[in-house]
Amino acid sequence: MYKILIVEDEKLLSEMYEDKFSQSGFSVVVANSAEEGLGLLKKEKPDLILLDILLPQENGIQFLKRMKDIAEVSKIPVVVFSNYDDPETKKKAFDMGARDYLIKTNFTPSEIVEKIKDFLNKINNPLP
């Protein structure tokens, strides 16, 4: 069972994704801000982080930066998923090590869950 950390400030959406991921067999931890997320990271050590960009106070990019400085958690894969479709931000995210940048509206929650599942399987069971 995989554990994922969802960093999303919109309660409306975070609840929705939490529901879907839970129903799909994931253990879900939710943070509503970057600060909260970083705190939970060390404690929970999830297998993957679903990170929104537009967060209160610090944004997703800063989260990525700060994450890098914490040795134990710096290697956890991050998938950015946000409705903020800005090329520069995208570039920055990838530079910071994000594995993907998904636009929320383009996918149903099911589709997102599928993507994450595939992704995690590939990481943990790399094909020879």
């Binding site: 919109e10 409306l12 959406l13 929705m16 994704y17 529901d19 879907k20 129903q23 537009l54 946000s82 409705n83 903020y84 479709d85 800005d86 090329p87 931000t89 636009i103 929320k104 509206t105 383009n106 149903t108 929650p109 099911s110």
Partner: protein
């Protein structure tokens, strides 16, 4: 007596020559004319005197006495008249002239009578000396009054003036005294007072002093004339001397060669020798007689040459001013230049003048206008006479003002600098330290120099202006560049702000849309419990609407990215067939729903791979197929792809509504082409084709449409370059 005769002739001839020289120097000048007449009178006196002394009979004596009397009757009044001109008292005292002339005429009329000359008889050693008649007593009074008053005026002026004018007056006074004295010494004998008229011997000094003084006064400047006369005199003398020697030698040989041959040879030799001898004397005269003029000439010619070499305005003006001051030994010089814009003067270079004085002459426009009209330098000494000849009152007053000013600041000469007959500046010169006035030649030389200087100064000024202009231009360009840069930076910031805004706006729009899509899809999937069957369709409609909104937001975001130039193209090697196949799969449900047929004419041999953004080109093809489905009610949609030369052409053909000619024009315009475009968009074609075109453009490809018209279907083509 012979000696007196000779003296008389000498006096007469010198006066005559002097009078002729002065008169012909400037026939129109009043002062020259009067002096001419005066000299004529003196000449008549002198020559008459000479002949009288030689007379052998009483009649001859009386006759010549009367002749010479004509001369000396007019001498006092003419002399007085001339002095009035000289000292510029003409206006003041001309009233006195009328009675003066009347008196002279009176004497003249009564000359033939014995009222003037009673008779002639021997006195002392003179055979025929006149005896005074009554009129002669009056004549003496008249003589003393007019000549005395003239002398008084001259002395008075002498005390008042300074510098060169003082010198002139000095010599005139000396000459006049000799003249008057000479005249006076004649008179005693008329009354049988036994005093010999020895003054006669000194009378010729009068014209000599006059000549000396006059030659230093530019107005009747006959220095050069005297010089040339002397040269001729010397040349002739030498030739004649030479000729006489030849004749003497020739006389020795008159036996061998005939006289006429000898004379001819003599003549030829003399003629041939004249020119070289004349040139020789002229050269000597240039060197020594006109020494100052000659040396000026060399220096100023040198200066002329140097003027062409110096371009710096400051250096140039310094050069001109210092050369003039040092060569002509002036006490002050200033160059004034006119600004090109407003015509104001400013001091360019000054030696000796006080700053405010240097520019005071051009405070008003009068001097400039006057110089431009007369196109000639203004000499202080000449001003009195110019003023006298001017008729208009205002002009007279203005000239008087200038005269006063020039006197105050001790300026002697205003040399205008002309560019195309307009004044571009002025060189104002002070007096020569020596006290000498400016001669004609000085002025001519200065004029030439002025012409050269004005051009050189103009060039230097222009050079400066061009230099300033280019510096200015450089500055302007730099400022503009800076402005442009900052405007560019601002625009960049604005750009960034715009794209951030769009991104933020779309984010805000998307959040609720995500929730709608997400929850509805989960409900439909049964995440929140079993769904009543009847709920399925309505919920799907909701989902469809949400998708539509999402698509619109995506389109808007894409368009703004395209317009801001921020659309990225991620090119990878791709197979067109794959993309088309995938699209067909995607569209299958919609096709089947509408009962249409979709035929993908896959090429037999595989197409080469193309470097394209798979996602975007996929979107373009999907968009085309989507439209085809939307606008076709029945029939089929054919998709083809083939390679032609260096491009791959994809075509999507439908049997649908087709497009009118109008629509064909607008179909790719989106809403950026005004009302028609907006109408098209609103009616439902959407931004898809607009974006499709932009995507294809970003690939350097082409997209176009053909249609037979309304109801005749349409074919959309996409052409992509392979490389």
């Amino acid at each position: 007596m012979l000696i007196f005769a000779i003296s008389g002739f000498v006096n007469g001839i010198t006066s005559l020559i002097l009078g002729i020289l002065v008169y012909f120097k400037n026939k129109s000048g009043k002062i020259n004319q009067i002096f001419g007449l005066f000299s004529l009178a003196a000449a008549i006196f002198g020559l008459g005197y000479g002949f009288w002394q030689l007379s052998q009979s009483e009649q001859d004596a009386l006759f010549f006495l009367k002749i010479l009397s004509i001369g000396f009757i007019f001498i006092p009044i003419l002399f007085f008249h001339w002095v009035l001109f000289l000292l510029d008292y003409y206006k003041k005292l001309k009233k006195i002239l009328i009675p003066g002339y009347i008196i002279s005429l009176f004497f003249l009329i009564f000359l033939p009578t014995s009222l003037f000359i009673k008779n002639v008889g021997p006195v002392l050693n003179f055979s025929w000396w006149p005896q005074a008649g009554i009129n002669f007593y009056f004549y003496i009074i008249y003589y003393i009054v007019f000549l005395g008053y003239s002398l008084y005026l001259l002395l008075d002026n002498y005390k008042k003036t300074a510098g060169y004018k003082r010198e002139q007056i000095k010599y005139i006074i000396i000459g006049t005294i000799f003249g008057i004295f000479g005249g006076l010494t004649h008179m005693p004998l008329w009354f049988n007072i036994p005093i010999l008229p020895f003054g006669t011997f000194f009378m010729f000094l009068y014209p000599l002093f006059m000549a000396y003084s006059i030659s230093r006064y530019r107005l009747m400047d006959i220095r050069i004339a005297i010089g040339r006369s002397l040269i001729y005199l010397f040349s002739f003398s030498i030739i004649i001397f030479f000729a006489s020697i030849l004749i003497t030698i020739g006389n020795r040989f008159v036996n061998i060669v005939s006289f006429s041959v000898l004379s001819s040879i003599n003549l030829i030799v003399c003629i041939l020798l004249f020119q070289p001898i004349f040139n020789f004397f002229e050269k000597i005269a240039s060197k020594y007689f006109y020494y100052t003029f000659y040396s000026y000439q060399t220096v100023l010619t040198d200066l002329g040459r140097k003027l062409t070499q110096v371009l710096d305005l400051d250096k140039l003006s310094s050069l001109i001013v210092s050369t003039l001051t040092n060569t002509m030994k002036l006490d002050r010089t200033v160059i004034l230049l006119r600004e090109s814009g407003n015509g104001d003067y400013r001091i360019q270079k000054n030696i000796g003048f006080r700053e405010e004085n240097g520019i005071s002459l051009v405070k008003d426009n009068f001097l400039t206008a006057w110089l431009e009209k007369n196109q000639t330098p203004l000499v202080y000494e000449e001003l009195s006479l110019i003023i006298r000849d001017v008729l208009k009152k205002e002009e007279k007053e203005s000239l008087e003002k200038i005269k006063e000013n020039m006197k105050k600041i001790e300026a002697a000469l205003c040399l205008p600098l002309f560019i195309e007959n307009k004044i571009s500046g002025m060189i104002v010169l002070g007096n020569k330290i020596s006290g000498d006035p400016y001669s004609q030649q000085d002025i001519a030389l200065l004029n030439t120099l002025a012409n050269q200087s004005s051009i050189a100064l103009q060039n230097a000024k222009l050079y400066d202006q061009v230099h300033d202009l280019s510096e200015n231009l450089q500055e302007k360009v730099d400022t503009q560049t800076k402005e442009l840069k900052s405007a560019y930076e601002e625009l960049k910031v604005l750009d960034k702000a715009k794209s951030e805004f769009i991104s933020l706006a779309s984010h805000q729009l998307r959040t609720p849309l995500t929730a709608i899509k997400g929850y509805i899809s989960m409900i439909l999937e049964g995440s929140y419990g079993k769904l009543p069957g009847s709920a399925s369709k309505p919920l799907n409609n909701v989902l469809g609407s949400a998708e539509r909104l999402i698509r619109i937001v995506n389109d808007l975001l894409n368009i703004s990215k395209i317009e801001l130039g921020k659309m990225e193209i991620n090119k990878t090697a791709a197979s067109i067939e794959e993309i088309i196949s995938a699209c067909c799969e995607e569209m299958k449900p919609a096709i089947e729903n509408k009962g249409l047929k979709l035929i993908w004419h896959k090429p037999k041999s595989p197409l080469p791979e193309v470097e394209i953004d798979k996602l975007k080109i996929g979107q373009v093809i999907s968009n085309l197929v989507d439209n085809a489905i939307k606008y076709t009610q029945k029939g089929e949609i054919d998709i083809e792809a083939r390679k032609t030369d260096s491009i791959i052409r994809i075509s999507v053909k439908d049997t649908g509504e087709g497009l009118t000619a109008e629509e064909l024009k607008m179909v790719f315009e989106g809403f950026t082409r005004g009302a028609a475009g907006i109408a098209y968009w609103i009616e439902g074609a959407g931004l898809g084709l607009y974006i499709a075109k932009k995507y294809v453009d970003l690939h350097n490809g082409k997209i176009r449409v053909e249609s037979g018209g309304k109801g005749k279907g349409s074919i959309f083509y996409i052409e992509l370059p392979i490389k």
